[in-house]
């Protein structure tokens, strides 16, 4: 467990009748950390989030958010936590600023502070020029950004974002992820859920992979990669030079060399052998065109994990079909 944790969940469980939506999960999120809850739709991510906000009853277990119990002290939690729901909605007939004004009044900011915070927040997410436009005219990406502006305005210590990037075009996604990184830079802890593994991988410090209401895997992406994919590194090289494969195979730590194309080689090693490989090519006076190490990708980790546990993947498929 983390020493300076802002969210701590122990054995958190949610049941609907006999159906178990979230099954005894435990995790913690540190201050200033970006933590990803990843998994397919229906795996229990949103339910977990709602329990943390006190918006749905906890069946079993306990969660502490900034030291508060959301089931007993929901107002203290909600005052300090910003929440961006899955496909966030705003009042379409009101302007962006008016929507934020309503929220600011609900939070209880005074008039002077309210206007200052709203202007700053809209500026921060790049919506300043749209402040007086009705939200009905906004694109999906703008709505998501307005949702983030609300969290900025609130001055939240934790931002909980449910599927922030789903349904956005690549440009809007990049913008959004930029704002999320900005949160981290300000010391705001971010907990985000997503079923888009690849996109989220780039911003998360640590992730928890959900599957059928349980956390299947948790840790940083490289750690998970080692854990699931095995300890190996894969280094791709594009270079020419006679006898290069043989020379490369002699580098300590390299377990195999594979030809993947004309002048293209793939090294399997138990450590990052890029410096040595580069040195070899240069020593042979070969021309080095490409040298890269394959990062462990969440996609690969996820697929591999479920390949090893086909019965769980089957269950997942059945849930999806249902």
């Amino acid at each position: 467990m983390i020493a300076d944790a802002v969210i701590e969940a122990h054995g958190l469980t949610k049941t609907y009748g006999s159906a178990v939506a979230v099954d005894h999960i435990s995790f913690s999120v540190g201050r200033g950390e970006i933590f990803g809850l990843l998994g397919p739709n229906g795996a229990g991510k949103t339910t977990t989030i709602l329990m943390m906000l006190g918006l749905t009853e906890i069946s079993e277990g306990e969660v502490r958010v900034l030291g508060f119990n959301p089931a007993r002290e929901p107002l203290s939690v909600k005052r300090r936590v910003g929440y961006l729901p899955d496909t966030v909605g705003f009042y379409d007939n009101l302007t962006a600023a008016d929507n934020l004004r309503y929220t600011a009044r609900l939070i209880g900011f005074r008039a002077m502070e309210r206007e200052k915070r709203i202007a700053a927040a809209l500026d921060r997410v790049g919506l300043a020029e749209f402040a007086d436009k009705a939200v009905g005219t906004f694109s999906r990406g703008m709505r998501q950004r307005l949702g983030l502006a609300e969290i900025v305005m609130k001055g939240a210590q934790i931002a909980i974002l449910d599927e922030p990037t789903s349904g956005l075009d690549p440009y809007a996604t990049t913008e959004l992820l930029g704002i999320i990184r900005g949160f981290k830079a300000e010391g705001v802890s971010v907990l985000l859920s997503s079923h888009l593994l690849e996109r989220v991988q780039s911003v998360c410090d640590r992730v928890a992979l959900f599957s059928a209401g349980k956390i299947a895997l948790m840790g940083s992406v490289p750690d998970l990669g080692r854990q699931v994919l095995g300890g190996g590194y894969v280094v791709d090289i594009e270079a020419d030079g006679v006898g290069l494969p043989e020379r490369l195979a002699l580098i300590p730590g390299v377990s195999g060399v594979e030809k993947t194309g004309i002048g293209k080689l793939r090294l399997h090693a138990d450590r990052d052998v890029r410096p040595e490989a580069a040195a070899e090519v240069v020593a042979m006076q070969g021309r080095l065109k490409y040298l890269g190490v394959q990062e462990a990708s969440l996609e690969a980790i996820y697929t591999r994990y479920f390949e090893d546990k086909p019965e769980e993947a089957m269950k997942e498929g059945a849930r999806h079909a249902a």
Partner: protein, 321 residues
Amino acid sequence: MQREGSAFSGLGVVMLKELSDHLTSIRFFVLELLVVVIALVTVYLATAQIKETVAEDPFLLLKLFTTARDPSPFSFLFFLSFLVPLIAIGMGFDSVNSEHNQRTLSRILSQPIYRDALLFGKFLGGLATLAIGLVVLWLLVIGLGLLFIGIPPGGEEIARIFVFLLVTIVYAGVWLALALLFSILFRSAATAALASLGLWLFLYVIWPMLAGQIAQIIAPPDPRYLALGLQTPGTAVLEQILSRLSPSTLFGEIVVALLDPTTRALGPIYLSQLQGAVLGAPLPFGESVLIAWPQMVGMIATAIVLFVIGYVIFQRQEVRA
């Protein structure tokens, strides 16, 4: 265990937002326009009728509300009794489900307020809107009455009209609470509107007829009374009890007591009650209110019960779409 903080923090904010939403909505404008036009027409017709027939009545201003141009039954009151539910339903049928459908509910509830504040604020916002509309309407009718008839109203008339206004606001509150309940129950606004309107039609049109039939089945009329061409007391009382389950009946009875000062009782009158009574003489204001008091309490209770049912359901509802 006591929950933290006040259930009413944010209540005023929600109420003001609802009020401003309603007052600027086209829906409210249309409904209010409808009522104002009908008020103008019915009051105009009523004054014409009053000038012809009851020039000596001491309660002329009250007549303005209840008189229709012969031979039509269309008095201001007649329209009011079915337009008020219509407007109230129009204010409430999409108040909670629209938050679901616009996906604003979870965002709003993640702010430091309880659900209580949201629901209560929505009810009060709607009620305030209706109250504003009705006050305007009352002032309009009284003003027109003064212009057309030209006799200043007495203190008692003003008191009766004021209580009539309050009762109408409560009546609107009953239908607002009903519409709010359906807006919690049904995720689709159209379903909620149809269910509210259906129940309103049932209670307003069908139930009074049905109440008589049911009463006759449960307590068949005594043939001896029938032979004399009289209603059997047991049957009549049962019919009245049943028909009072409809808020429309309650409203009608209260209005009769308030606007017709000669009303002595709202149920069957027994001979003993008439001993020493001067028939046709008006009762004082306080006595009229007393006659309708049970009905008023019943109507307020109906509104509260409907709201509480909605409240309990809303508290247990999942916020996710």
